[in-house]
Symmetry: C2
Subunit: 272 residues, 2 copies
């Protein structure tokens, strides 16, 4: 129910929107379920679904008459992850950092005002693949989100700020664009962003942006921990390592000349 409903980009836009609805359900879904939530009439939706199924973007379960996201997406995403995400480049540096600090490390990028996690290392335990990469989170109340927003140049920043949900997750959540803007200003000066239980009780994090030569945010990297184990002051001890890692990734990323994930204005899914 958020976002600018705007542009449909013809049939393709509609088809992608359908894909997004199926994704939102998070489970195999029936035609009629999609229909109730759909902006398009029965026949239109029906044909879109047929097309997507025949294309392998949706998988149709004949027995139950349900649709899920198709595995073709996984194949395509692998390509996206390799060519348009910082993850493959950042991998060794993220490894080093997580090993040195022994805490959970996140690597994220901006996607349409939201945070998209592209890599992660858990405190211990090797983690398994897609379960974490590909996840989305809010921009306005996460360490990585604020770190990237803080360095977004003006036209885009306003757009991104307008897309935030400003839902009060905790006492500490910043719930107005004004409060957020002030915080971002501060972050831009220090080059470091904190999440002070703004997204989840007892969970804190320190994050640094990964910046291009012209100071545009390519991504962000963060160290997350729990108040049960560390205080905010403890986190600040990670600042130097974090900034160094971010700098290394930025250097490495520069030659590859990263595609700015700009100008995207597809109807966003829920964003809290």
């Amino acid at each position: 129910m958020s976002g600018s409903e705007g542009h449909t980009d013809g049939t393709v836009g509609k088809a992608l929107d359908v894909l997004e609805s199926v994704a939102e359900f998070g489970r195999p879904v029936r035609f009629s379920e999609l229909l109730t939530n759909s902006r398009w009439p029965k026949a239109t939706l029906y044909r879109l679904i047929q097309t997507l199924s025949s294309q392998g973007m949706l998988a149709h379960d004949k027995d139950r008459n349900t649709y899920s996201l198709g595995v073709r997406l996984i194949r395509l995403a692998h390509g996206a992850w390799k060519q348009a995400s910082l993850a493959p480049i950042a991998q060794p540096f993220v490894d080093d950092l997580s090993e040195k600090l022994g805490e959970t490390v996140h690597l994220a990028q901006l996607d349409n005002g939201q945070v998209l996690y592209v890599d992660k290392r858990n405190a211990r335990a090797p983690i398994s693949m897609f379960s974490d990469a590909g996840k989305v989170g809010p921009g306005y109340c996460t360490g990585v989100g604020k770190a990237m927003l803080a360095f977004l140049p003006e036209p885009e920043l306003t757009e991104a700020l307008a897309k935030q949900a400003y839902y009060r997750h905790t006492e500490a959540t910043l719930t107005t664009p004004e409060a957020l803007r002030a915080e971002l200003c501060n972050i831009r000066e220090t080059g470091i962003s904190y999440d002070r239980e703004e997204h989840e009780e007892k969970i804190i994090c320190i994050a640094a942006p990964i910046l291009s030569l012209d100071d545009r945010p390519l991504g962000a990297i963060s160290v997350t921990t729990s108040l049960l184990r560390h205080s905010l002051d403890d986190l600040s001890a990670f600042e130097t390592d974090l900034k160094q890692t971010a700098a290394k990734i930025a250097t490495e990323a520069q030659p590859w000349a990263f595609p700015m994930q700009n100008n995207q204005n597809y109807p966003s899914t829920r964003s809290q």
Copy 2:
């Protein structure tokens, strides 16, 4: 250059085809490069690319005028991975198996006649996310591929066999549909499939299909090793564990009633 060129599924099909071409390049690509490999005239391709970019499926680098796959795909794929892949369900079992055997374990599904890896555990070393999941491999010369093909019911099998590249990777590669059919017949009887250096010299593997109640292949799981460390005979010692793991995953997957990845007939990318 392969596959059935056939169905375009209107604009949506064309757009997805463009996406696929960008994926095939594996690097940021210019409009003109896409144009040379494109079946559509300039203006058409141009508008498709514009639409895809505005939708976040492609990322446009203004400076270099190149296009890459967009991060939106990663978000969508996360959904696909969670709802349409065996990976989340199989995770604990794959963990157990890889820990017990100390060898590389692959979890795969069929996608349009090809093998799509949806999870992986390395012999040691925690591996990072998308770097492995999302990869594709050939069906006709991998352990998991043959394990799944062997249990494909007739109409689909013929279709799948027709999509194989039959490229001779090694001496041992089966390079004709006939030879493959014979091998599949054998696999169906034993319930176990071997890769005897058919894809890569010195690399061998043992695989078992993960079957639904009506014996359709939901996926396959394999243990891979090198001839430098193990013989084919050694591998057969893993048979019991492998089959048990496959059975456990199948049981767990049943209630979720898996979307059969059927009837897909989108123009396949290169398939060797």
